[in-house]
């Protein structure tokens, strides 16, 4: 148990080498994989909270995320054996015609920190590619980003393409500087989030429904 508290701390401080080392030790000591994972997630949650409260910056958050990622690489095989599945698989991308990706990258990173399995399709992504990725990865969460007023309509195109399939339980969350809740309502997206931090809460809420 004491070990796992320390693991939480190493994730928080972004100490990669200690975090991976401790993960391996915990596994060797026979800790339940889910318990180890929980300890990491607690660490990332704290980091996310600190970021929200303006106590740390993105680079510091990214360092924690990287520590988590490396520790996860060690934990994953054991987790999978226990039948573990990530909370959800998310597909994210910036819509066609649009090259802005910093905002999308931040969301993607926050989602990873919250233990989602994230497939990032990059920028300038056509609707078909979103649909194909949802199928391929059995995704239940889709994130669309648009920064240009003239690529906002491409979100509608993606929505139409997704709704044309008979996906069950696929939720779409949209964001980007020109996007509003109103616009989300208008194109039938499931939710809008104003920033990366609230994108995690919004995603969790969507998936809980």
């Amino acid at each position: 148990m004491a070990n796992l508290n320390a693991l939480t701390e190493f994730i928080k401080s972004g100490n990669r080498s200690k975090a991976t080392k401790l993960t391996q030790e915990a596994l060797d000591a026979g800790e339940v994989p889910q318990g180890i994972l929980d300890a990491m997630v607690v660490g990332m949650d704290v980091v996310g909270e600190r970021f929200k409260c303006n106590e740390i910056f993105v680079p510091e958050m990214l360092i924690a995320a990287r520590a988590m990622k490396e520790a996860m690489a060690i934990l994953e095989p054991a987790l999978v054996k226990t039948g573990y599945k990530p909370i959800a698989t998310a597909v994210i991308g910036t819509v066609q015609g649009d090259l802005h990706d910093i905002g999308k990258n931040l969301v993607s990173m926050m989602w990873k920190g919250a233990s989602f399995n994230v497939v990032d399709l990059g920028v300038n992504v056509p609707a078909e590619k979103f649909v194909a990725a949802i199928k391929e990865h059995n995704a239940t969460l889709v994130g669309l980003s648009a920064l240009l007023t003239t690529t906002m309509p491409a979100m509608q195109t993606v929505m139409d393409a997704i709704r044309a399939e008979d996906f069950v339980g696929v939720k779409v969350l949209i964001g980007g500087a020109p996007i509003t809740q109103n616009y989300a309502d208008q194109i039938g997206a499931d939710a809008f989030a104003a920033d990366a931090a609230s994108a995690v809460d919004a995603a969790r809420k969507l998936l809980a429904n």
Binding site: G97, T149, T150
Partner: protein
């Protein structure tokens, strides 16, 4: 064909002021940039809508409405002139025919306002840089490169008098450097990749401008410096980091002038005062009137050395009093009137108003601080003291950090506790970087996942 600046056009900070540039020049309808008046520079864009063949009619209607509205208001308020910037959206550069349809709408309306109301105006043409539509970006050939050059060429032929761009060379690595707080990556993106791309690109733009007897104006490291600024405003990255990135962007933007650009540097280049000190060319700036486009920590200070004063961009939506671009036009004109009143009263008064603009913001934000006219001269000096963009970038970065450290020490700048450690981190990083940019380049190439950028597109061999 390219100049290397080794001395400053303005080395006395009291001469680095709004409205006057050592190298002014005159546009076709008589506006003199940098010649004693500050002009409003208006920019506007579409409301949420699609751009495709089928919507081009609607697109044209929007632009016609916007240009008519702003020129009408400018004439009513008797503006001594208006600079109109047309910053294209991606499909307009990809299909130069579409871009040209709009160029002609703008030029026609400007001609009409001149004929009818005697309103002087000129068009700044800013095709957007589509080269990263393919990833990794293809910088020196391909349909995006060609569409862009075609649009420059045809719009200059049609009557656009100033050519600009917000080029993106090097950004494919710089974005991550920003979110990672990685100063080495930032300097590499700006001064190695960015500067090389600028040299290639601006040699072409200057050639086009010459061919049509128009002016190559200038570039902006917007995708670098302003991204950093926006991220800092959103509390994503430290403000001091954004400030140092800003200082370094000047090295990249300078390349346009080294290749033959003559200003005014693009509005969103907050690094422009540094470039004005080096080159003596007029500069465009944006501040409080651009809060429609992005918030900033230097709404007044940004006006200190401007020759045109811009709103950056606003979409065509209706506000209570009228269309949003017209609102921007009115605001810009009043800000310019104030500066022009001071300009009419002479250098002492100009200096007074300038210093008030500076005093308004400088102590509250590190980026505002390093853009004080005296700091700009210091940074300009640091840049010209070095021979290559890479060495200049490291030097100006360290100079900026020193300025901030000093300002914090003598309490002329307030820095929060969590900002402070970043000063040392950045210093260490810059000092530990290899002296030879080729060594750094090979390091970066070796450690970057392939497909992020193409070294050959920057004249680098891997």
């Amino acid at each position: 064909m390219s100049t290397h600046y080794t001395s400053l056009a303005i080395d006395d900070p009291t001469k680095l002021v709004f409205g006057h540039a050592p190298n002014p020049f005159t546009l076709r309808r008589g506006m003199v940039l940098g010649g004693g008046l500050v002009y409003p520079e208006i920019n506007f864009t579409l409301p949420p809508m699609l751009i495709e063949a089928g919507t081009m009619n609607k697109v044209c209607t929007e632009y016609r409405q916007m240009i008519t509205g702003v020129l009408k208001r400018a004439a009513e308020l008797e503006s001594p002139g208006v600079l109109v910037e047309f910053e294209t959206l991606p499909p307009m550069t990809e299909h130069p025919d579409w871009g040209m349809q709009i160029v002609n709408i703008l030029l026609d309306a400007m001609e009409e306002a001149h004929a009818k109301d005697g309103l002087a105006s000129a068009l700044r043409m800013t095709p957007n840089d589509n080269r990263e539509m393919v990833r990794p970006p293809q910088m020196r050939s391909g349909i995006y490169w060609e569409g862009m050059l075609e649009l420059f060429d045809r719009s200059a032929a049609a009557g656009a008098e100033l050519l600009s761009i917000e080029s993106v060379g090097g950004k494919e690595l710089h974005d991550d450097a920003l979110t990672m707080g990685d100063m080495q990556g930032s300097i590499f993106g700006l001064s190695v990749l960015g500067a090389r791309d600028m040299k290639f690109l601006w040699t072409h733009i200057v050639e086009i401008a010459k061919r049509h007897g128009v002016h190559a104006a200038g570039d902006t490291a917007c995708g670098f410096g302003n991204t950093a600024m926006v991220l800092a405003e959103q509390k994503m990255i430290p403000r001091v980091f954004a400030a140092v990135v800003r200082a370094v962007t000047a090295v990249r933007s300078l390349v346009a002038y080294e290749c033959g650009a003559v200003g005014p540097g693009k509005d969103c280049g907050y690094e422009n005062p540094i470039l004005k000190a080096i080159t003596g060319f007029p500069m465009s700036m944006e501040g409080k009137c651009a809060s429609c486009a992005h918030f900033s920590p230097m709404g007044n200070l940004a006006a200190a050395c401007c020759d045109t004063w811009s709103n950056e961009s606003i979409q065509n939506v209706k506000l209570l009093g009228g269309m949003a671009p017209t609102m921007s036009m009115e605001q810009l004109i009043y800000d310019c009137r104030l500066m022009n009143v001071a300009l009419g009263e002479g250098p002492k008064e100009v200096l007074k108003l300038r210093d008030w603009f500076v005093a308004s913001d400088d102590s509250l934000d590190p980026q505002a601080y390093i853009l004080r006219p005296d700091c700009c001269v210091q940074l300009a000096q640091a840049i010209i003291s070095k021979d290559t963009p890479y060495t200049a970038a490291r030097h100006v970065g360290l100079t900026a950090i020193d300025i901030l450290r000093q300002a914090h020490a003598d309490k002329s700048l307030k820095l929060s506790d969590r900002e402070l450690p970043w000063l040392d981190t950045m210093t260490d990083t810059i000092q530990e970087m290899p002296d030879d940019e080729n060594v750094l380049a090979q390091q970066v190439i070796a450690t970057t996942e392939p497909g992020r950028f193409l070294p050959a597109e920057y004249g680098l061999t891997s």
